[in-house]
Symmetry: C2
Subunit: 335 residues, 2 copies
DNA sequence: TGGGTTAATTGAAACGTTATAAATCGGGCG
DNA sequence: CGCCCGATTTATAACGTTTCAATTAACCCA
């Protein structure tokens, strides 16, 4: 890493003048073209380092059509606590030093989720795409597959054609959570689900239902609200059930906010955690270590998820076959 | 917004052929150059809309040197809960539709904070910069001012030259928090500060100290840890003080995690919130509405902060005088 | 010796845009 | 009638890179 800073920003032409080779040769040498003599390559790279040459992104992009940009579609409405931070940290960590930069594009919640994708494709704004909150028949996945555009989804789909994805085993999480509550002697377990359109909702439901049925206990999936409902609405729904006869004595919470809401509903109705009901929650941030009473948690490592998605996208852009680009994170727990 | 999608992506040349004008004329017409006849401008813009013309970013960038990119330096270590999400949402909200895209660059915590800034300047990776966790004599501010590069800092500095910033009145927050605790009859108030290098640490300290002195009560600034210390370390420090003689009966907490730690320390030593001690915390996310026992909070609207910073940066890039580009958010509370 | 072959290098074009300087075209004026 | 002027338009170069096709140099073998 040479630090000999000149007045002017060095370009290929600077290097060409400096080394006596033609611009084309310099370009090839730096690209590692095998047709270039080894000695030439050395001379050129030496000069490049000495002058601190960095290829101009705009020029390269104009010429090659590659943007050196990866776009991340980020939900700007509600988030699981710390999701954005951890996820983004994982992504930037992997991409640092690769020459790719990450742009964040808002994924308008109620709006047309295809619009930003269309813009990116049409105006060639990125070389690859990452997104979250994948739906079972996600129109973005369909569009991107048709366009043969590299992407990695956070969450699986139900399309038959394979595509790269990274997911968390929410079915296993639900089973685990139920099993833990059953082991504590709980007989009626409550669950708030995300919206039906998301694939992971089906995984959660399936894992939950088969676990409670196998254990032969009661269950209820809270009606009328989803994880994306306003917290007050969720709180009200939970509250209502606590006042009704035969309230649940166990809660499986997919988000941290829901866990706090459940805890608050319990407390506010005079119940005691660990006595009248137990809660198991999925957590993405370490904040729950500090909550009293302590809630049992299952960890989802979103930083690792971000890393995995970024790495996978790089491999996809390098042309690896899609079938193999999948990764399912298992729940981490010491329950 | 015409939707007549052709096989090829339309360029200025396409429009030139279509309208019969020269490429240069078309470019000027779209740029709104006053030398172009009104009728011509109409013809050209009509054609542009019809064909769905979008200027190529790479070409424009290569030619003009402007990147149409705004970079955000984001701390990837610790965050205040929900900070990243809200902040980013505010920024993207303002920038949507302006043609600017946001890239996220990790601001390595212990590392050289100048390195990413240098890279951005040197390789011309952005037209403007946003960053957080500003230091009293922040080297990034110095460098950017020297280079006359547009930026907005989250937090003030102590440089004499003015520069654009958006800040939260942490001094007012500290006074408010102390006043509230004093009103509750608390006589010994504890505070965990961020690292000394940050400007807002000085504001917090000043507000805190002058408020406790004016009220004539005891105080302690927890030694040996900062807000960036590992939560376990902060927890241990708080715990130690609770076991020592004459423990604090009031806590001013700058972050949500610290508030939970203080609450946990209180609970774990058999104390009761509202009886043995009170807590006032700054919150950036609505999560605290759900914590039991309820903690008194003062709100910092980070989404509005992100919006303000993005808007201010746009104005700075449009050449507005720097002296006027400042905004101080006041604490929002119903204490 | 000379044609054929390989290895290495190079000139030139192109990507799509903007900016500089020059060209065109009616009129208006002396 | 010729000249100049303002209003429009245009040809052209340039931004920095990659790549196609062509050139040069060196070498081998008949």
């Amino acid at each position: 890493m040479g630090d000999e800073i000149q007045g002017e920003k060095p370009t290929l032409r600077t290097l060409a003048q400096e080394t006596g080779f033609a611009v084309a040769t310099v370009s090839r040498a730096l690209a590692g073209d095998p047709r270039i003599a080894a000695t030439t390559r050395e001379t050129v790279t030496a000069a490049a380092n000495r002058l601190g040459y960095v290829p101009d992104r705009a020029a390269r992009r104009l010429r090659t059509g590659r943007t050196q940009v990866i776009s991340l579609l980020l939900n700007t409405q509600h988030e699981f606590l710390g999701f954005t931070h951890e996820f983004l940290a994982g992504i930037t960590e992997v991409l640092a030093g690769t020459g790719y930069s990450v742009t964040v594009v808002p994924d308008s919640p109620g709006q047309d989720r295809l619009a930003p994708v269309r813009t990116i494709l049409r105006n060639n704004l990125a070389d690859g795409l990452l997104f979250t909150r994948t739906e079972a028949f996600d129109p973005r996945v369909r569009l991107l597959m048709e366009a043969d555009f590299p992407f990695v989804s956070h969450g699986r789909t139900e399309f038959t054609t394979p595509h790269p994805w990274v997911d968390y085993d929410n079915e296993a999480f639900a089973r685990l959570a139920v099993a833990h509550l059953v082991a504590k002697g709980r007989r009626r377990i409550s669950l708030v689900l995300p919206g039906d359109q998301f694939t992971f909702t089906q995984h959660l439901r399936y894992g939950f239902l088969s676990a409670v049925r196998a254990a032969g206990i009661d269950h209820e999936i809270v009606a009328g609200v989803t994880l994306d409902s306003p917290p007050t609405a969720i709180g009200a729904a939970l509250m209502q059930r606590r006042h009704a006869p035969n309230p649940p004595d166990g809660y499986v919470c997919v988000g941290e906010v829901t866990a706090l809401l459940a805890l608050a509903a319990l407390t506010d109705t005079g119940g005691m955690h660990g006595v009248d009901a137990d809660i198991v929650a999925k957590r993405a941030s370490p904040i729950f270590d500090n909550i009293r009473p302590r809630i049992d948690t299952v960890f989802e490592d979103l930083r690792a998820t971000g890393r995995a998605m970024a790495e996978m996208l790089l491999r996809r852009m390098n042309g690896e076959p899609q079938e193999r680009l999948n990764r399912l994170f298992m729940p981490e727990t010491d329950l």
